[in-house]
């Protein structure tokens, strides 16, 4: 099976959050980057399918040069080759909304004729959770989201999808298809020394955003949805001690759980 895995490099969860000068994103100084968590699970699912059925796993990622490190990590874990849509600097992709990015990604892999395109469910930074679905629509392919397991069948694939409240369902779909993968389904593998050494010999095809746009005017950024500004919410994570008698504290807690946490 030929599987394309779209991976995003995101700031690590630990990163210190300071708003940058333009007020539209965080200050990237001293921020370390890592592979988006649900994308790591998508990669794992792809690698397991390759191990079971043979084929090729291709990593696809868009971003500045630093994305190369995450691509190499994916190659070290077992992907065969990669396509890096390289943007000139940190800001070059900020005018692209989800549709714009999906268009870039779709253009880069259109000719690959993959059997499956996998993405993570959503990114740890923007959390839109749409790129995969949009790509499916752009490429005219069927899709399914929140996938936990993929099995190959004679007519295509059978997948396990997560529903709300602890329910699940199986879906049958033909290939080629697009799937967005939920975190936590499989056991991730760690990057090994041997994998990193092998990764040095694997192909990373670099396609610049400008080149893609040159051959396809459709790809100029015309964001439908514009991020105007970002704000640090007032509440930081501090411990609220709820006092009073047990009854009072209990009532206060229930209120918090209901309206602030929205769990009841």
């Amino acid at each position: 099976m030929k599987i394309i895995v779209a991976i995003k490099q995101v700031p690590e969860r630990d990163a210190r959050i300071r708003i940058d000068a333009q007020g539209k994103w965080i200050d990237l100084q001293d921020v370390e980057f890592t592979m988006n968590e649900s994308d790591a699970y998508a990669l794992e699912e792809a690698l397991q399918l390759k191990e079971a059925h043979g084929g090729e796993v291709i990593v696809l990622s868009a971003g500045p040069e630093r994305v190369g490190r995450t691509i190499r990590e994916a190659l070290a874990k077992g992907a065969d080759r990669a396509i890096h849509i390289e943007s000139a600097d940190e800001t070059a992709l900020s005018d692209f909304d989800a549709l714009g990015i999906a268009r870039l990604l779709a253009a880069a892999v259109k000719d690959e004729q993959a059997d499956l395109i996998l993405t993570g469910l959503q990114s740890d930074d923007l959390g839109l959770g749409q790129t995969g679905v949009i790509m499916a629509e752009l490429l005219g392919l069927p899709h399914a989201t929140l996938i936990l397991k993929i099995e190959k069948t004679d007519t295509g694939i059978k997948v396990l999808r997560e529903l709300e409240d602890g329910w699940f369902q199986h879906l049958a779909l033909p290939t080629p298809a697009v799937l967005t993968i939920q975190s936590g389904n499989s056991k991730l593998r760690y990057a090994t020394l041997m994998g990193i050494k092998k990764a040095k010999t694997k192909e990373v095809r670099i396609v610049s955003v400008a080149d893609l746009q040159a051959s396809n005017p459709d790809l100029a950024p015309r964001p439908v949805v514009v991020l105007e500004k970002i704000i640090l919410p007032h509440k930081q994570r501090t411990t609220q001690i709820l006092g009073g008698t047990p009854g009072e504290a209990a009532a206060a807690l229930v209120e918090k759980l209901q309206f602030e946490v929205r769990a009841i």
Partner: protein, 655 residues
């Protein structure tokens, strides 16, 4: 000189000096037979020994091995080989017996030479032989040898009884309770000594003398070819093995280039590993002191080494057969990952086998190639990849702690950098230790700071064999420390100390580092003491004791606060808490918990406080003691013990 004792001589049985009987003149045919036997024996010896030597030399060279400093090697050779110091010290009675056997072999060197020479008609030591030049030399020497022979006979008989009647479990091998070869060899040694001694009691030139001579010779010539086929190969190899040690305790070698992933197949075995594998005497001292082997795990250090030997015997170090995985027929992956790297095995080994680098090497081979699939291990490596700490916690948690304790940030101007480590930065108990130590430093007016950002030293990755993660962490940390001009580090964790001081050397030059017990001991005179009658039991952490030889400094802190009591196994024999080797981060153990066993031992001292010097030991004992009930002793780090004696915060500290 004539001995005036009740010897056969003075009893009138012989006239003349005390000497073994002259076997008389040998016939030509006897000389031919002798020559033929010697050649056969030597040939059979070399047939096997040659193969062993070949396998050792064909193994790949050890990267990073240096002969210098030679002085230490010569000392170790003298002390451990010639004086048999470790053999005796660690198992006194059997050790002494073995020492006598060994010394008698040395003492017999000339006897044996003379014996064979006599067979060819060249009486070396006879009165008209060497004794021509050194008067009375023969008299002295043969008597001297006889004394050793007596000691040897008694010793070998004792050892035989120990092995075959008492049957200590450590001597046996999995699947073979008794070793027939040991019996045969013991018998041959006994025969050699007995025939020598008996020859003092027969007449010169008699048939008895001749028969004894031939018995002795045959014993010798049968013994020789047996040596390389059995563990008695150590007779030849172990002095070499001890001389060629890696240089320091539990020293993990660097990887050699892009194709080296650790000990994966036979081709990865190095000359030192092969030499050590063939040197094993199967004494079982390593297994006897192994915390895993003693708590029902399948890991058995002796079997690990013998497993490597078995592999070499079957597959060798080169060729297509050597492409078999080391963790396969002769060694199991499961066993390799039950090791806490406590080093008790390596410490005990009387023939210089260095178990820990071998076990870590096997782990490297599994982890660096992705062959180790363990949920907890993977989680640990991913946490170290993503969060740069072994616990997978966010760095902001550490920041909060630093702020709350108002710890000064290291800016290059302070004398010391206080390294928090993963436990000191994130574990509640570790934080208490840091807080106590900070109190002491504040009292002393010590100039120190903590780094704004720390990454794990990489110790769990290093011991589990993940060189990718370890390299990333070590290099990143070294760079940060150079940038921030860190010169001297104090750490509360022996694992951090060891990893920074030794393991980081592979990637750069680490700053000086010491353990907080060393700092506290140095400042004992400046700190106030409030000694009580309380009994405090001290537990030697593996990475502070055996790894770093720091035993007295923590004890000086404890003695200043109460009465120090020792656990049954202490100092170099301290029994591991079970956390090392990355095991603190792996899942549940099989069999008994190592920490429970050690905790019980510490509680049995009757102490009301247990003194620890490592945050991992602390966390392991915390759980183990909690399950012992409400009357269990309290658990304190030496930093807390020291801080307890400081005057209350409002009192003015002394200058």
């Amino acid at each position: 000189m004539y001995l005036v004792v009740a010897t056969p001589s003075t009893l009138g049985l012989f006239a003349g000096p005390i000497l073994p009987a002259d076997p008389g003149r040998f016939l030509l045919i006897e000389k031919f037979v002798l020559a033929a036997l010697i050649l056969t024996s030597a040939g059979l010896f070399w047939k096997r020994f040659g193969i062993v030597v070949d396998k050792i030399f064909k193994s790949r060279r050890d990267p990073g091995f240096h002969l210098s400093p030679v002085g230490k090697r010569i000392w170790d050779f003298f002390w451990e080989v010639l004086c048999q110091a470790k053999v005796i010290r660690e198992r006194p009675l059997p050790g002494l017996a073995h020492a006598f056997v060994f010394w008698s072999f040395l003492a017999f060197a000339l006897v044996t030479l003379n014996h064979i020479a006599t067979g060819f008609g060249i009486p070396m030591l006879a009165p008209n032989g060497l004794s021509r030049y050194i008067p009375l030399f023969a008299d002295f020497y043969f008597l001297f040898a006889a004394l050793f022979a007596i000691a040897c006979v008694v010793s070998i008989a004792g050892l035989f009884i120990r092995r075959f009647v008492v049957r200590p479990v450590w001597l046996s091998r999995v699947g073979h309770e008794l070793s027939w070869e040991s019996g045969v060899i013991a018998g041959l040694i006994f025969a050699l000594m007995a025939t020598y001694l008996a020859s003092f009691f027969v007449a010169d030139g008699s048939l008895a003398a001749r028969l004894l001579w031939w018995s002795h010779t045959l014993s010798l010539l049968v013994f020789l070819p047996l040596v390389p086929h059995t563990k008695h190969l150590h007779l030849i190899l172990s002095p070499v093995t001890i001389f060629l040690s890696r240089g320091s305790f539990s020293q993990i070698p660097p990887l050699a280039g892009d194709e080296d992933f650790g000990l994966v197949t036979g081709k990865d075995l190095t000359q030192l590993v092969s030499l050590q594998a063939y040197s094993c005497v199967e004494c079982g001292r390593c297994t006897e002191h192994c915390p895993a082997a003693n708590t029902g795990k399948i890991l058995n250090p002796k079997e690990v080494i013998l497993g490597v030997r078995g592999y070499l015997n079957e597959y060798g170090p080169v060729g297509s057969s050597a492409e078999e995985l080391l963790l396969g027929k002769y060694n199991s992956q499961e066993a390799a990952f039950q090791c806490t790297t406590c080093g008790a095995c390596e410490f005990q080994c009387p023939v210089g086998i260095e178990h820990v680098p071998i076990i870590v090497g096997l782990r490297r081979g599994a982890v660096n190639t992705g062959a180790w699939e363990d949920d907890y291990g993977t989680k640990l490596f991913l946490a170290m990849e993503r969060n740069s700490n072994a616990l997978g916690l966010s760095a902001s948690e550490r920041d909060k702690f630093i702020q709350k304790q108002e710890l000064p940030i290291f800016d290059g101007t302070q004398e010391y950098c206080l390294w928090l480590g993963c436990m000191g930065g994130y574990d509640p108990k570790g934080r208490e230790i840091i807080s106590s130590f900070v109190e002491v430093m504040r009292y002393l007016g010590t100039s120190y700071g903590v780094l704004r950002k720390e990454k794990c030293t990489g110790d769990p990755a290093r011991r589990l064999g993940n060189d990718l993660v370890f390299q990333q962490l070590a290099e990143s940390n070294l760079e940060a420390m150079t940038q921030q001009k860190v010169k001297k580090i104090i750490s509360i964790c022996p694992h951090c100390v060891r990893t920074i001081q030794e393991d980081w050397k592979e990637f750069g030059t680490p700053p000086e580092i010491e353990h907080h017990s060393e700092f506290l001991a140095r400042h004992q005179t400046q700190l106030p003491h409030q000694k009580t009658e309380e009994k405090i039991a001290y537990h030697d952490p593996c990475y502070l004791g055996r790894y770093r030889n720091v035993y007295d400094q923590p004890r000086s802190v404890i003695s200043s606060a109460g009465t120090l009591v020792e656990a049954e196994r202490s100092r170099e024999r301290s029994f591991c808490c079970g956390a090392g080797g990355g095991l603190a981060f792996l899942g549940e153990e099989h069999g008994q918990r190592v920490s429970s066993v050690r905790a019980q031992e510490l509680v049995a001292t009757g102490a009301t406080t247990i003194g620890a010097a490592c945050p991992f030991c602390n966390t392991m004992f915390r759980d183990a003691l909690a399950s012992q009930g409400d009357n269990s002793p309290r658990l304190l780090d030496i930093a807390q013990i020291a801080a307890m004696q400081l005057p209350k915060p409002d009192a003015k500290p002394q200058a």
